[in-house]
Structure formats: structure tokens, C-alpha cells
Subunit: 358 residues, 4 copies
């Protein structure tokens, strides 16, 4: 299986702008079929690849083409349903995030993947972004020491209403946006998830979501996110046991603050830091992680090893999402009870404490 | 009392480097005496001002000179004790932070100041720093809307052992360092303090302190601080109901992210932001707040009005400090109990929840 | 000719990393043949596109395939020679920079293209980079006013020896690197080139190249470039008659300084500026200009209009390159003469003045 | 003369905002008299220092007080005239820039200072600014190597009309603003000034001034300055023979680009650089150089050694200023001549070449 035959599902913007371009320049991959519930959109594939068949359903595509893997960019319900279909036929599955709407659904998908012996993958591109990889490598060095705390700020301005037919804007936001940063918390936090605390503030239909996650490694991670912000941006900070603090700004710039730093000409001195930027002509899909996530997924398919961002890897992320949603509901209930006692002035949505290790 | 006669107490580094230079260039102030328990250090004042008497005790200075106010830069025990002496003699008091070690002590000072009818002040220079003032003005504008959340990161690398004879490194750190950022949380949070949650992590003798504070205005503030960092730096972010996000970096640079921004030549467009920097030759003690804090204190003395950073203004700040210390102790107790049950692997110092509105 | 049939020439790093990925995701383009003097490298195309023929010479490819255009990434001698072959057969030509080694050669190519009625293009990707396009649009606005001066800093660390069999490291550097920034000077300078002054300093085998170019619009442009720098970076500044100064840093960040600027919440105030950054997930080949240059070239092929970066557009750029080389030689001659008179201490390579309008 | 007795001349904004505050906190200096042609302004000194006499003329002050030095912040004509008076009486002289209006005048002052055996000083605060000192130290290190080129950008928006009764806006601008950056060119260029080329563009009453200066060390310096910019800012870059490039932004931030750089946790890697910022609470007059210039001047007075920024040190700076003015006049003449020959379209003020070593 050195040449992998791939079917595409969902030929919308994310497929055309990020996944397809990455696939087109990936060696030893052949896109052999494309599928979209809208036949006209399916045919848009012909602007990029001539002479491949297009279908309007995944089962039809699975029947017609001999596929090693499918790559999907659809709503989570479709991801879930069609992943099941594909896995049952022994076809490996890569889906854009989110793969499904709930932890229960994810656990079913994980179990089925295990039974079917297929590779699975989710488009967690942040994790594979080049500067994040640099940080991951840095955090394994002896000089960096142990990661003690991760601060994640993920600014967004949508969704302000529920997505995908879900009834919760909060869950929609967590699955559509914060899933990336929660996954980074899990990635850098290391060890098992021990504790989740969270708090959701609402202003009109906009959210501010804050969380604090504790891992068995001793590391903690805090999240500031929500939809109250003017536009999407992202910042991460790591603090280590060697008093090193690393900042990542927007998948562009890395700054390393360490107790002693300098240059050849100055020697180590106070208030010097190391800074990294991508080159001026840095192009393509590696910096943002779209290339890397697909490259490693197909490598896992070839070598029949586990892909780092498979369905199973997202279990702690979904546990956190469920905990945040549950705490928010509990607080709503508290507020109702409280309102009866006349404390309707309490403006915050309150604190949710979820101890998972109990 | 247009010309205010001032006595200085504690002629150490903070006095010589920040307070004294600000006083020397402040109009209509006369430094008429200086006092230090070390007579040689007291006499260092003569390098700046000739022919003023020096003493080695505050009572002696109060006896010898006819003072309107004293300015002190000493340990908190001295601040407290000598503030009492001065206030009892009707002399107004400005002290470097911290004014005292506990909330109880602060309450006594507040009560005494009220009885004596004197002005009090604490050197909360962050609050008076020029870029912070710009932010405070900005947050009062209709266009900014209501402040929803404040994120405060205050990086430090000391103290690693208790200061001033206290028995707690945590309390020493909070009083010596985090007091500034907690005070900013109170300043921008507005309204009464409703809730404090906090968590302290330890790595060797270094701390990571995290807190989340809720105010009756509905605003929340989060704090990431501690002594695990490589050197002192400071960052603040504000998010408002108009989806404006303001960042202050190190009392130097302000960045305003708003949904629509642009320039005359571009018009409003995506991903534009407004940025402010001080001028290249920006000099003196106004940017860092040392001039402003003293200027306004003496103005309050002249006009017999309340000074914004008086002892009383610090009550919510001390409530937060007490809550963080108490929660940390409670967690220690929990940990001891837990250890008996065998969970000695739990690395974090855990979560403390303190509901002040109860 | 809505679907354009393209042959690739030179399947090396630049083709595989930037041009090919851009072509693969470009609608309505078909790559139908690939050619490289190294047959094994030609066959590397099959990792991306199966079943297209590969050749080891351009004439063979022109014979075998019915091509609308070729895209070349080769040394300038090959660009020149094979452009002639292709143009003579009515095939349009897009070449990486540089298209040839001298102004005389370029003039021949321009003339031939005119005779053959084909489209030509050169890979001046800086000109098509998204932030440069933003600047170009900005400079056309009435509010920006007239561009008065352009400062271009282009830092490089190679070549340190002549490329492509040329005998001049200086010419090699200008053709391989500075061509981009000189082209931007011409682009933003507007009008005809009136005057070139330049100076080359040498330190060992490293160069510092400085130039000042005057245009009939009244605008001037200055260039600081060379191979003495630690790594490649790029910065551009524009000053306009409305006292607006725009900075572009490395094709990433734009900063606009204007006399009055502010935000909704602050109003216009001193020392505010507007800043733009690409989004965190900005991916692909549009920001760096590789997509845009090819997209517009093929659009010109379809519409039979002039492509903005065609061979002819580079005439002023080559005039500047020739003037810099000629002035440097003249200075060398002067220095020799001078040395006889004993001024061997003069360290700089001196000043060359070239008045083109004479 | 361990305690230096100082008389102040010109109690305007620059004196009150920068010089006086620096003097007030300078050890072992006594301000014993103040003088201003406006008696009311002279008396403003009493808001800072009580009980010192005020005068309305320097001769009166020299008669009345026994002075070691005077510090002046006046127009250049007054600086020149009163420096002569003071020096003739053996009093050392520190003046704000500019000390006088022409090179001839400066040469007379230099000669007189030599005859009188007094110390002289000019307020070249950029040279003494803390980050510039860091750069100066850096450039002396073996690792930095030899400085090859200095790029100086000095943005200003005034003066737009002649100052101090001069008849040239250009000369006024050079003496009031660009003098600082030209002095930095001389400071970092090292060795004797060998060559000056310059060009002045005009747009309405606003200037763009460009210059290229060559030094006997082999270093060159380029200047971009003028009054067409929106507000005052300053940037300097240095390139060295070790391929190190240092940037100074606005007397705040230093960035060092070197071929190999990294952090403890990353090791040396591509595109890392070292960056330095002042601390968040950096206060006072040292960063901007006002303290350092005066401190070192008085130290030179005490030790009877040469002060680094004495009148004589400014001779090359004034030579450059004269060359720029002369070239601009010559070009005007050329233009007139040229206009007769019909080349009235030439928009630039042209090029002036001034070879000083001839």
C-alpha cells in the first residue's frame, strides 16, 4: 500500500482551501473519487483533478471505488455516520473536527475503530503546526525541564447560535473552536486528566469560557476563550520547572524567556530573550498544520501504527468539553434555585467544579 | 498648605531611585527632614538635598520637624507602626506597598486614619502608570462598553523565601509583588468583590499562583502569577461587551483589537488593530506611575479629598490576598488528610474556593 | 483556451516547493508534461501527477505535447534559450527569476515575445504577495497621497561566489536576490527611471549594496541589500505626501503611521498607529505571491492581455542592475588609478553615478 | 571641586522636563542660581528649589554667583554668545543642542574652549541613552567584528519653517533634529569623515533628507530623515563583518540577528534572534540619556578630562550638516541652470556630492 487511494467527502470551503491543496502536493497519494450531497459541488473537484468519478453518497463511493481511506469535511453527524460505514468496510477515516457531538458518540467510534482495525484521524491542525511542533520538541529537552503550566487564549467571534442542529451554542463553540486549544492543553499537559474547573459568562449571545485543567503529570492548563472577541486569534504560554517561559503568538512567532540569555556579542545579560519567526517566504500548509496532520495520518495508514490525532486521542478533550457543558448547566440550575431566593443580581454564570478522578 | 512639608523615612534603593527623584521634581513640595534607622543611610539624602536634618527614628523626626506628611519606604511592620505614630499626630502618610501584613492590620489602619482625619496613600504605581490611565479612560467610554473580563499575567522570580520575618513565602509574594495586579483587578473589575477562587502550585521553593475573582459589576478577573518565571514582566488584557480587546504589554505598549478598524488610506478592514507606544524620549517617572501616585496624594492632602490609593482602597485587595492564603492552607490540610488515604501523587496544591458574598 | 495545458521545465526545489503546489490547486490548468535534464528528477513529477510523460529536453517536450504554456525554474541561460524556442513555436512562457543575465538579452527576449505574440512572465512573487498588494491598493487612495520615498532593506547571506557560470558575484546576487526589491522600487516608484546612484562595499566575499533610484514621478527609492547579513529578511517603508508612513515587515506585518489615528474607544490621539497581521491559519501560496503570479499569468494567457510581470516590465529593473554593475566596475578602475596616487586607504568601493535620462 | 556649583540658563520646557529633573537627582551637584530673559520664568525654579537667586542675564549671574559650570537650554545664538562669556571667565559650559548655527561658529567655540581650558558639553542625549550604550559596548566586542554599515532612520514632522531667525528650514531641521542621528553616524562610523553625499526632496514645506557618509574606518552610514513623517520616531541598524545585524527601535528595543542563535532548550537554530527590552518599571532619565550626558559632563569637570560630547566632538557632525546644506544649494543652482535647458520636469532636489578628504 505505498500508493494510497483516497476518496474525498464534502467538497466545501475547508476541503478546497486547506485539505485538498495539502493532498494534491502530498507524495504517493491518489485521489480517486469525490463525494458531496450536492452533486454540483462534488463536480468542482474537476477544476483540480480531471477524470475522477463523483458521487452524492459515501456508501455509493465505497461501493464504486476501491479505497484505502476517506477524508471528510462535513458536519459532525455526517462524520460520525459515514465513519461508521467506512470503518465497517475496513476503510481508514480522516475527518475534520469535530468527529461527533458527544463523548458517548466518540467512545462508540473509538470502540468500532478498534474492532475494525482501521486508522482514524481528526483534523487537529494546531497540534501539527510547525511552531507547535517546535514547542513540543523544546518541551522534551532536559534544559526545558517539566512543563508546570500552560495558558491558552483562544479568541473567537462565533458561533453566536447553535451549529449543526445542536441545541447548545456553548457545545457548538467548544466543538467548532475551543476543541483545538483544549487538545493542546491535553497535549502539553501530559498524563491523565485529573480535574476540570470551568466557568461560562454570557453577554447577549456571546460567550466567555474559562477553564482550568489539571493533569496527573502535575501540570495545569488554563483556557480563556469564547465568542466575545473581535476576531480569531490564538496565544499560548508555557512555564517550566527551569523557569523558562515560552510564548507562541498566533502560530507565527515564538518567544523564549529564560533566566540567562544573550548573543555572541553581548554575552548573557538581563532581559534578553530568544525570538523565532518564520521566513518571509514561508508558504504552503506546513506552518498551519494542514499538511502535517494528513501526512502523518497516511504514514500511520502505511505503517499500520497509531496516528497521534486519532479518535481515541480526543477522549480527554471530549471529557473536558462535557465537563464544561455539564458545569454550565448545573450553574443554570443553581441560578434558578438562587433566583427564587432573590439573588437575581448575580451576573456571572458561576463556577463549575468537576473532579474527574473521583 | 500650598507648600507641603515632607519627611522621608527609609532612604534605601526604592526611595533613592523612584520616590525621591519624583519628589524632587514635584512642584510645591519641600523635603524638610529624612530618617533612617541606619544614620549613614539617612545622611545619603545630603547628596541630593543639603542642609536638612537627618534622624534615626520617626518619633524623633515628628518631634523635630513640623511636617504635613511623611513618605516611607520600609518593611510593612515599620509602615504600620510608624503610620500609627504619624497619623496620631495628624500627619498624613504615604507608604510604599505593602502598608502592613494582614487584612486585620489594614482595617485597624483604615479606622485610625478615619479617626485622625489624615490622608493616607500606598505606592500602587501601576494604577497611576500612564498607559494604565489611558486604559482606565478608555474603559469609561461608551464605545468600549462594559468590561467583562480582565486577564492579568504578572511574572516574577522572587521572593523564594519569606520576607520581613513573615512565616509564609506565599503571603510575602502576594504582598510584595501580586498586590499590584490584584489591585488592578479590583480597579478594572469595578463594584464589590463577590467571589475568589485560587490555586497555588509549588515547584521547589517557586510558586505559581492562579486566581479568579468575581465582581458585583459582573466582571471577572483572572490572575496568573508566581515566582517560577525568569524575570519580572507584566501583561493585561481587557475584554468588553463591544467585542473590544485591549492588551497592555509591560506598561509600554497598548494594542486595541476591535471588530472594525483601519486607517485613512485603507478604510476599515479585517485584522487591523490600533497600537500605541510611548515616544522614543519618554522619560521620567510618569509612565511608570511613581510621579502620578505622589502627585495625586499631595493633591488630596491640599484639597482634603480622598486619595484614590489610600489605605481603604486596598481592603478588597487584602481580602483577595487573605482568601488565597486561606485556600492554600485549607488545601494543605486536605492534602495531609488525602495523603493518609494514599493519594500522595497529587502534584498540584489544589483548588481553594472562597465565597465572600456568603 | 479555458483549460490551459502546461509543460513544466526544471523539477527542482523551487518547482516542487512553490510553483507546482500553486499550479496543482489552480483551477482550469492541466499539467500535461514535465521536463528536466536529469531524467530521474523529471520522473519525480509522478509523485504528484501520475501518467504524464516526462522528457529530458524542452524541444522534445514541445514536439511531443500540444502546450499552451511552459513554466520553467532553471538557470537564466536555460530560461533564455528555452524561452526563445518556446516563443518561436507560439507557446507562452513563465520563468522563475532571473529570465536572463543581461539587459541586452532581456531586450532581445522582449522583442521576440512581441514578434511571436505570446505571453511572458517572470516569477516576481514579492509583487504579488498579498500584503504587497494591500500596499499597492493603499497607495492608489486619495488619502494616502503621492508616494515620495520608498526604503527597501533586503538582507541576504548568499551568494558569496558567482552563480550560473557568470564571472561576477555582484551580478549574480542582483539577479538572484535583489531583483525582487529593485522590482518593488520600480513598482512603487512609478513613472520612468530617471537616475541611479549606487555603491558596493565588500568584506571578504560578502557584499553590501546600496542604491538610490529616482523616478519621473518625483519619487525616490533607496535600497540596502547584500550578502553580509545573517539570513534572508525583507522590510519596506513608504512615505507619502499626506505624511503617512507604511512599513511592511517580511511579507507578514503592515504598520501604518499617520498623523491622526485612534480607535473607537480612544478617539484619535498621539502615537497611535494601525497594524495588520495575517490570520493565524493563513495558509497556502497567496500570502507569499506564488499563487498570484501564476494565476494572473494564466489569466493574461486566457484574455490575451499583458501580464503585469512580463519580460518587458523588467526592463527598468535590469537597467538598474546594469547601472549598479557598471558603477562598481568604474569604481574599481578609479581605485586602481587612485592606488597609484597612494590613496590605498580608501575603504569603500566608492560611488557610482549613472544618469539614465541623459 | 567634588561639589559642583551650577547655574541654569533658560528655564523653559526642556530644562524643566529633562535637564532639571536629571540635575536634581544627581549626587554632588548644587544648583546655585537660575537665569532666564523672562524673569517670571526664571522664578519658576522656586517651585523646585527654594532660596536660590534668579537673574535675567548670564553676565549678571556670572557676576553674582561663584559658578563651576552653567547648563543652558536656549536658542543657538544664545548658546554661542553666553558660552563665550562663561568660558572667558573659566566657567565650564553644557548647552542643549545645537550649540551654534554654523561650522565656523563651532570652530571658534572649540578654539576658545581650548584657550580657556574649560570643559564643554552638548546635550547629545541619544549617544548616552542606555540602549545606545549597550550597542556601543556590543560593537567593541571581538564577536561583533567591525561595523560595516549603519542605517539611521529619523522620522520627524517639524520644523516646517526656519527656527531661531535662520533663513533655512533645512539647516534648522538639521540642527534641531537630525543632529542626533548624524552624531550617531559619526559615533558608530569611527575614524575620520571621508565623504558625504546627500539629497533633499521637498513636498510643500516638508523635507525628506537622505545622506550617505563614509568614514576612514571603511564604515558607511546612511540617513533617512526629514519632516514629512507623521511623528517623531527613530530606528538604527548596524551590520558587522561577523554578519551580525543589530536593530534599535526608538531607544526601547534591541534585536540582534546573528548567523547562529538559539536558547538553552532549543539549541542554535535557524531564524532565532536575541531581543532585549527595558524592564516594565524602567523609569527616570537614564534610558533616554539625559541623566548620562550630564553625569559624564560633570565627571569630566571633576577629573579635568575630555567629555565625550564636547564642542570638538561635534565638528564632523557640523561638517556633514554644512555639506548637506551646500549640496542642496548647489542643486538649486543646477536646477535653475537646468530649467533654462528645459529639464523643468526633474522632480528631486538632486544629488550633492561633497568629498571632504580632497
Amino acid at each position: 500500500m505505498s500508493l494510497i487511494k483516497v476518496g474525498l467527502v464534502g467538497i466545501g470551503a475547508q476541503m478546497q482551501e486547506n485539505l485538498l491543496p495539502s493532498l494534491l502536493q502530498m507524495p504517493d497519494i491518489r485521489i480517486v473519487a469525490a463525494c458531496d450531497s450536492d452533486p454540483a459541488r462534488a463536480k468542482q473537484i474537476h477544476r483540480f483533478i480531471s477524470d475522477i468519478p463523483t458521487m452524492d453518497s459515501v456508501p455509493a463511493m465505497l461501493d464504486a471505488a476501491c479505497l484505502d481511506a476517506i477524508v471528510m469535511a462535513c458536519p459532525p453527524q455526517v462524520h460520525r455516520e459515514m465513519s461508521i460505514r467506512a470503518m465497517q468496510r475496513g476503510v481508514s477515516v480522516f475527518v475534520e473536527k469535530p468527529p461527533c457531538a458527544t463523548l458517548d458518540e466518540l467512545q462508540e467510534l473509538v470502540e468500532l475503530a478498534r474492532q475494525c482495525g482501521v486508522r482514524t484521524g481528526v483534523g487537529m491542525n494546531f497540534k501539527f503546526a510547525r511552531p507547535v511542533r517546535q514547542l513540543r520538541e523544546m518541551t522534551t529537552s532536559e534544559e526545558f525541564g517539566r512543563t508546570l503550566h500552560i495558558q491558552l487564549n483562544h479568541y473567537a467571534n462565533k458561533p453566536r447560535t447553535p451549529l449543526w442542529g445542536l441545541d447548545s451554542t456553548l457545545r457548538s463553540f467548544l466543538l467548532a473552536q475551543a476543541i483545538h486549544t483544549i487538545d493542546l492543553a491535553v497535549t502539553f499537559g501530559q498524563g491523565d486528566l485529573v480535574d476540570v474547573q470551568s466557568r461560562v459568562q454570557r453577554h447577549g449571545d456571546a460567550l466567555i469560557v474559562k477553564g482550568e485543567f489539571t493533569f496527573s503529570s502535575g501540570a495545569t492548563a488554563s483556557l480563556l476563550s469564547g465568542t466575545t472577541f473581535p476576531y480569531f486569534e490564538f496565544q499560548m504560554k508555557l512555564v517550566s520547572s527551569s523557569s523558562t517561559m515560552v510564548e507562541l503568538d498566533n502560530l507565527w512567532n515564538i518567544t523564549v524567556h529564560e533566566p540567562e540569555h544573550g548573543t555572541r556579542a553581548t554575552g548573557a545579560a538581563k532581559r534578553w530573550r530568544g525570538a523565532w519567526q518564520p521566513g518571509p517566504l514561508d508558504s504552503g500548509y506546513e506552518r498551519s498544520g494542514y499538511f502535517g496532520e494528513l501526512y502523518e495520518f497516511f504514514d500511520a495508514c502505511r505503517t499500520r501504527t497509531r496516528f497521534e490525532a486519532d479518535f481515541e486521542s480526543l477522549l480527554p478533550t471530549y471529557r473536558i468539553i462535557e465537563a464544561i457543558c455539564r458545569a454550565d448547566c448545573a450553574t443554570d440550575a443553581d441560578l434558578d434555585a438562587t433566583a427564587i431566593r432573590g439573588m437575581h443580581a448575580l451576573p456571572s454564570k458561576g463556577a463549575g467544579l468537576e473532579r474527574l478522578s473521583a
